[in-house]
């Protein structure tokens, strides 16, 4: 009895695990590449009658993989046009007769295009045993269970246009149909509509409220504030964070946050915030001393304002130097010791 139930179990799992091409495409592949997660990887990787193309990526900014984010849209374009072509060609509508197709070359030519992102599939990544991204793996039919050993691996070459990738995919089977890989350029109607709408709204506002708007546009104080904020931000390394997509803070080995990167050539995003605030304090202090203070009529008030501003400027500057000293150990000067 027990043996029987065990057998049934084995049989059932066998069925549910071994996925067929049409099932995968119908259930998972809709508009883009099939997304492999910790929940479904066992199903997808059990490729009974299709070959699997797997793009392994890490889109999270913490990893800071520029190439991943660069390649992903091209890859999804490739996948979506492939699936679209597949649906149009009617291959999928052929009834699954339950019989297993044993023609290996034909099976090979049926590709499932999938991707796995580190943040969605940490378990799966352990199985893959990967230490660098991005990668594109190709598995022959029935070979994908052994996920860590792909049949072939794609080499990135800088100009990874979809055509180059699809050529690589097709090269694995003599029966693959180039028609299926014809790239369909799908214009992004949604964003186009949104842009047109935003433009129209802007035009309407411009037309209706032009007087009010002109007041804002010709407001000198607004422009002044904008320029100063822009200059302060740019001088405190804002562009560095944007280009490098740096982490907000670092971590010690005990997991405590570290706000200042130890080297002069790198920084965390938190540093930009701290430093820009310091700059702002110092600059405003000097502006008050140089400009606004003369509006105070009472000499005593004037004196106290100046003293306060000088102290603020001094401490802002001293703190800035302490921050810099934390990054550049050899720096010999300091106005006060903070760290």
């Amino acid at each position: 009895m027990r043996l029987q139930s065990l057998l049934i179990c084995a049989f059932l799992t066998g069925i549910s695990l071994a996925e067929t091409f049409s099932h995968v495409v119908k259930s998972l592949g809709s508009n883009g590449p099939v997304k492999v997660t910790d929940n479904n990887y066992q199903e997808v990787m059990a490729n009974e009658d299709y070959s699997l193309v797997l793009f392994i990526t890490a889109s999270s900014p913490r990893i800071g993989c520029v190439l991943c984010t660069e390649v992903m849209p091209k890859y999804s374009q490739l996948a979506s046009s492939y699936y679209k072509n597949l649906r149009a060609s009617g291959v999928l509508n052929v009834k699954d007769d339950g019989l297993k197709n044993e023609d290996l070359e034909l099976n090979k030519s049926k590709f499932v295009i999938a991707y796995a992102d580190l943040s969605d599939a940490p378990e799966f990544f352990k199985i893959l045993g990967i230490n660098s991204v991005p990668k594109v793996y190709y598995y022959d039919p029935r070979k994908a269970m052994d996920a860590a050993n792909p049949t072939d691996q794609y080499r990135f070459a800088g100009d990874d246009i979809p055509q180059r990738m699809s050529g690589w995919i097709m090269s694995h089977s003599s029966k693959s149909d180039p028609e299926l890989f014809h790239i369909i350029e799908t214009p992004d109607y949604q964003s186009m509509m949104a842009n047109v709408f935003a433009f129209l709204v802007a035009l309407f506002v411009l037309y209706k409220k032009s007087d009010r708007l002109m007041q804002v546009v010709f407001n000198k104080k607004l422009w002044r504030a904008c320029c100063m904020i822009l200059v302060i931000l740019l001088c405190s390394g804002y562009m560095y964070n944007r280009i490098r997509q740096t982490e907000f803070t670092g971590h010690t080995q005990e997991g405590l946050p570290v706000y200042f990167a130890p080297s002069q050539q790198s920084q965390y995003a938190a540093e930009t915030q701290i430093v820009s605030v310091i700059y702002a304090f110092a600059a405003v202090g000097v502006i008050v001393i140089a400009d606004t203070v003369n509006r105070a009529v009472n000499p005593k008030h004037r004196f106290s304002i100046i003293v306060v501003c000088l102290v603020v400027v001094y401490f802002a500057y001293a703190y800035l130097m302490a921050c810099f000293k934390a990054k550049n150990q050899g720096y010999p000067f300091s106005l006060m010791s903070v760290f």
């Binding site: 002044r224 822009l230 390394g237 600059a283 140089a290 003293v307 000067f333």
Partner: protein, 744 residues
Amino acid sequence: MLYSVDKEGYVRVDSSLLVAFKLLLETAIFVSISFAAISSRLFSVIRFESIIHEFDPWFNFRATKYLVSHSFYQFLNWFDDKTWYPLGRVTGGTLYPGLMVTSSVLYHFLHKIGLPIDVRNICVLLAPAFSSITSLATFLLTWEISDTVKGLRYRKTSAFFAAFFMSIVPGYISRSVAGSYDNEAIAITLLMVTFYLWIKSVRLGSVFYASLTAITYFYMVSAWGGYVFITNMIPLHVFILLLMGRFNYKLYTSYCTWYVLGTVMSMQIPFVGFLPIRSNDHMSALGVFGLLQFVLVANYLKRILSPEKFHRLMIASGSIVLTLGIAGLVLATKIGIIAPWTGRFYSLWDTSYAKIHIPIIASVSEHQPTPWASFFFDMNFLVWLFPVGVFICFQDLSDEAVFIIVYSVLASYFSGVMIRLILTLSPVVCVCGGLTVGKLCSIYMDFKDIFNSKAQKVSGAIFDTFSKLLVTSSLIFYLYYYVYHCTWVTSNAYSSPSVVLASRNPDGSSTIIDDFREAYYWLRMNTADDSKVMAWWDYGYQIGGMADRTTFVDNNTWNNTHIATVGKAMAVDERQSEVIMRRLGVDYVLVIFGGVLGYSGDDINKFLWMVRISEGIWPDEVSERNYFTPGGAYRVDDLATPAMKNSLMYKMSYYRFGDLFQGRDAMDRVRQQRLSAQYAEHINLDVLEEVFTSENWIVRIYKLKDQDTFGRDLIDLGEQKRHQLGKKALRKKTRSKPELDIRI
């Protein structure tokens, strides 16, 4: 009488004496600023000697020597067959000649007046000399600006402060120390002079100043590729003035004169050619030129037409011009008349583009974005005076102040994107800092009231005096500290020639490591004149300049494929590499190896770039992955991957490295990895033979062996030889080697 004492006891001085005294003082201040500017740039000359620094300056130096000994036209038509062998390089047409022409003119002039100064010394000292002119130009520019800013009682004070800041600001010193003979050395000077003349011509609306602007602009175009900055700055200034409704005939005159003359003149530079009417970088200047004509006509029509008619005409013609303009631009780009954004500019907007598509650009650290610490390092307290200066410029918002505002915002964006462009930011930071300090001085450094008995009686005067004293003293403190900071930065960070290295002996005494020049001198003296030396591109200019031998690739990275070929020859095994080297016609191979000394800028650390760049061309034959262990580590010891161990670069670096340690494990001091003695002994080379290794092993030179007389394979021969040598003989051989003494 020059002075007299009046009844109340005051000394009355004649005004002419005062003027003379003022002039004397100003001259004295100027001389001291120039002195500070020049002397702070001489650290490297005093510490080392009068020597050209780094890499690019060596090429400029070589080109200058060529220009001095040949005529100008020969220079323009110079085809250099000593680089990029066997392709050669059309050098005359692909360089900015301004720098070389400047120094050769100086050279000939000095020789005419009887000062026979060596070309090298002129080249070394050109940058410091020009830096003092930069301070002068900054002075003039700030003077013009401060003229238009309210509340500055002593205009010259701010100008002097700006000049003083400019003279020692590290952001500028980084590119202009003695020996850094690069285009930027004179380009920043020209930038400031051009901007000064531009401001002057906008103020006066004079054709004379506008033509002078065009002439300095031409000089700038001939000197540095960064002239595009001016080409976009001036139109942007004009455009913003137009948007603010500040059109006037002064603006029209100066812009049109500058644009027409400047464009025609800039096209005379062979390297620039027809770019000014083709590339998109220059289109804004053309567009503003057209717009100005349009505004001029509109201005005229406004006077002669009724308001209604004018309004209708404006709308009609405006829409026509807009549609025509856009259509024309799109059409011309489609057909290919206008070049798309050039690569250099593209990397300004989107650095990740360059990183992926052009590995060579990514491998140059100058193209990295700037963290905040670099801003502080290069500008010290000016970095927080800078926004205050922008604030002051907004107070009165004169045409000239608008220029400074536009310049500040634009330059801070560019310098944030690319660390190299801090250079263009530092002048405006100095101007803004000068304005701020000048303003503070005009309010708080005025102590006349103390001596005025009437003012003393006003209540609270004592508080004012106190606050003045406080502000003045803290200002002086910050300035004092600024000087210390700049000196420290210059002496520690920017004064190393990188050709000669400074180091310390174990006992603390300083020593100089001169391996590069030793090796280049060896090449010059011991190899045939026409021998070809293969090395990674970083050293191309130096080999050309110091050793005077033909190179395959150099720092002018114009041919990626050729660089990749050299990279491949280094990255693959001996057998494949021999084929490549024979095909290229290599005689000698030069590698930089820092493992003995701990010099981290060596070729093994740059090796991954060679692999990456050649992988871009031959993805099937070279793969970066193969040079990392399965664990993802970059190893050079016993556990290195086979691809790594077999690569020519690895073998050349570690060949006979074990011998240094006399039976103990060999230690690579850069990568902190230990090569076991048995393993290190078995690193062998068959197609190359070692001909020279410098004192500290930094430079190693190998000669490609001649092909075997009987047509046998060199590697097979080596194998046989090693086989014949029994273990005993091998041991005996290593023991009988002379003792090697290394100085570290």
